[in-house]
Amino acid sequence: MLIEIGHFSLVLALIFSVLLMVLPSIGLYQNKSSLAQLSKPLVWVQGFWITISFIILMSAFLTNDFSVKYVADNSNTQLPILFKASAVWGAHEGSLLLWVLVLSIWTIAVSLFSKRIPSDLLNLILIILGAISFGFLLFLLFTSNPFERLLIPPLEGRELNPLLQDFGLAVHPPMLYMGYVGLAVPFAFVLAALIRGQLDSTWLRWTRPWALVSWAFLTVGITLGSWWAYYELGWGGWWFWDPVENASFMPWLVATALIHSLSVSEKRGAFRQWTVLLAIGGFSLSLLGAFLVRSGVLTSVHTFATDPTRGLFILLFLFIVIGGSLVLFTWRSHLLQKSNQFSLLSRETGLLINNILLITALFTVLLGTLYPLILDTLNLGKISVGAPYFNAVFVPIMIPGVIALAIFPFVRWKKDSVSRLTSLLRFNWIGISFLILLARFLITNNIYVLIAIGLFIWVTFHVIILLAKRIRTKSKFSFAFIGMIVAHLGIAVFVLGATVTTQLGIEKDIKMDVGESQNIAGYDFVFNGVKPHTKDNYSGFIGDISVYSGANKIAQLAPEKRYYQSGMPMTEASIDPSLARDLYVAIGEELGGGAWSVRIYYKPLVRWIWLGGLMIALGAFFAAIDRRYFVRAKS
């Protein structure tokens, strides 16, 4: 009966989302505030039943209830308990339930942490979030029910995809969904302002912290996904330009543009139309990501379903959301035209450049992602667009962006002069040029690495000068300022890590006999053999490799080759991590006579990639808790 209660809880949540759309709307339209104020309790009761259904599905996994088809298809008695819990969102139906749960968490958060937002605006925001929730609940219940029963329950379930049997599944999707779904909040703010026709300071002020928090979660989610792919897929890559990775990266680019555009709109009232379009674009791209993953147009480790009905449903939803929002935008655009003037050299221009570069980058990624799919759909042949295209097109667009992000925090709002800026920064620029020259002679002559070092020094030095200037003028260090500094430093750390590990990393795919040694980047890797190994729900082989630096043994690595019950082979890399470099080893196939194929990687500064990502996210969290978002207004 518990499963039926879980199913009915979702039905109740659907009905409450309908009531959330209808009752407070009547209240707002007829000025009946008691009815309009019902939006919050409706959000809470809806969230309660979604949470109950999620808990029931998780309990079905933990108790091996194979009478539930979804559990029988994705779990078995041998699966370790952590993976049973995370298997809840390991396939389409459960991941969609997680999506709905996350949307409900965001909606509840908006209802609880928006005491400074006018009631009418807040109620309309909750109504819009309720409408989005209605769409997803409809999708879940009518095409992807996770509580479907089997007539004759099997004694044992099938297996969760071995690639997903990892801690990464427990953290990557929830964080990514927090980001994806979180973009619904700025979207709802914008739509509410457009519907009311009251495009004032309030919505601009209160959209930004929510945009920052969802952007921070999206950054954490993408960073965790990159880290997971690096250690789990067994070939040391950290970004593959996979269409589904791009599907999460595209909303990130738009959301990055949005938080910068919002800062101009909030402070100076400029770029309002553009800000509205970015908020609509961010959520639309997150829906596009959902469509790519769940429609069956792509085949990847990330994709869940090959059911065209589901794809059609999301496509319809996507058209309603984008089409409806753009119609509303066109209708109200005359109210957004009020814009304050600024000169060519001003902080507004800097943020405009940032937006232009980010949106250009977005379109290059969008083109590279969708073009092969469009050709395939039109039966015009199959082409593959991979890393060479993206690296060649995306990277040059982003370099000016990194240069600009260091300078423009020094530029004044509205109007500034070149002479003031050069007199302020000229010694800094001389020092930076000297350090880059020093790097050329002392560190490397690899042009890409030199550019990355140059960008790192460029950003870091400007940040130091900015801090020194603030201290000298005894200015306050607001959380918004600290957040900007941390995030910009994070970009510099990421750029250096990504470039150095790509350019200076060493990779060897070799045959190793027992006792044989290989020297890579000054480290000796000694292969001591392979032993059979059985654990939980898999068996296989575990390698024994000692790593020496000179005469000192610095690491003992144990890469694995696993075979799960389905027979699917899995490579588990073994890594000796440090901030300076990773030593990464994976074993391939047995080649006879005790010899094995072994892959050894030397990855300098690879950890900087994820450190940079986490710094960017931390910066956004700091900016979101700035004091001005907590000042209580008095009547």
Binding site: M1, E4, H7, F8, V11, L12, I15, F16, V18, L19, L23, Q30, N31, K32, S33, S34, L35, L38, K40, P41, V45, W49, S67, S114, R116, I117, P118, S119, D120, L122, L141, F142, N145, E148, R149, L150, L151, I152, Q198, D200, S201, T202, G269, K338, R412, K414, K415, T473, K474, T534, Y538, Y563, Q565, S566, G567, R628, V631, A633, K634, S635
Partner: protein, 269 residues
């Protein structure tokens, strides 16, 4: 089943929760005007701070201040008068709409046959009862692939091989790419051919193997097909690969090891 007391309780609890807030509404936040005044005042404070710290000059300050004032002036509006409601009327509407709509939607979504789990735990259905239930279910849902497959399996269990082949054939028409079905269907046909895999049963196994070359069951059956064709090397190859892919504790390991040793003995002879 649909109108169980648990569902009624869920609807009642939700309605009571909402009733509380209909009679004691959540306190309103500030108005639009209060919010805009507060934000623009704060902007002015930030502007003064920027001026005092030398981030902007006096002319820029004046210009920005007048922008703030004009923005605020354009944002202020007169609030509308609030109208009170009759909570009981709205509560009745909520209870009725929640109850009727939720049960209506659930009745559409809930499976036509939901096994009584409590009864199933104490009194498992016999094979013939299962077949009857499945056949009843299939009258209403003739295209349910899983049900057809299960019916075929249950019919094999009761020895009705001809009927099971017919059920599998119907399932095969719906989904010809399900490996479990292909193997079960092939086994049922082989059972009617004195356990020999040739003709359609052989084709089905070859198809299963082409769909998933790593499937242990498909490899096992492919080995049997090869052995029946006296291709002992082929059989050994398939079974060795199956054993290689199998975990040590796999329950079917002994069966394949026995089959392999039998063929190896035959080869030696």
């Amino acid at each position: 089943m649909i109108l169980s007391w648990q569902f009624i309780l869920m609807i009642v609890l939700s309605s009571l929760f909402l009733a509380w807030f209909l009679y004691r509404p959540v306190k309103s936040n500030l108005s639009d005007d209060d919010s805009n005044i507060a934000i623009n005042k704060q902007r002015q404070v930030e502007l003064e701070l920027d001026l005092s710290q030398g981030h902007i000059e006096s002319a820029q300050y004046q210009e920005a201040e007048s922008e703030i004032i004009s923005t605020l002036a354009s944002e202020l509006s007169s609030p509308a008068k609030n109208i009170t409601i009759e909570p009981l009327k709205w509560l009745i509407l909520i209870v009725l709409s929640t109850g009727i709509l939720s049960l209506l939607v659930y009745s559409q979504l809930a499976p036509k046959i939901i096994p009584n789990t409590d009864a199933a735990l104490t009194e498992p259905m016999s094979m013939s009862e299962s077949i009857e239930k499945l056949q009843d279910y299939l009258i209403e849902n003739p295209n349910d692939f899983q049900a057809l497959k299960m019916l075929g399996l249950a019919q094999v269990g009761t020895g009705n091989i001809d009927e099971s082949i017919q059920s599998f054939e119907e399932a095969f028409v719906i989904n010809p790419n399900d490996i479990d079905l292909l193997l079960q269907y092939a086994s049922a046909i082989a059972a009617n051919q004195d356990g020999m895999f040739y003709g359609k049963s052989k084709t089905l196994i070859e198809k299963a193997l082409s769909l998933d070359p790593q499937s242990i069951q498909a490899l096992y059956f492919a080995g049997i097909v090869s052995a029946h064709q006296s291709d002992l090397d082929g059989a050994i190859g398939y079974w060795q690969k199956a054993l290689y892919l199998m975990p040590d504790n796999h329950p079917d390991r002994n069966i394949i090891e026995e089959a392999l040793s039998t063929v190896l003995n035959l080869q030696v002879k």
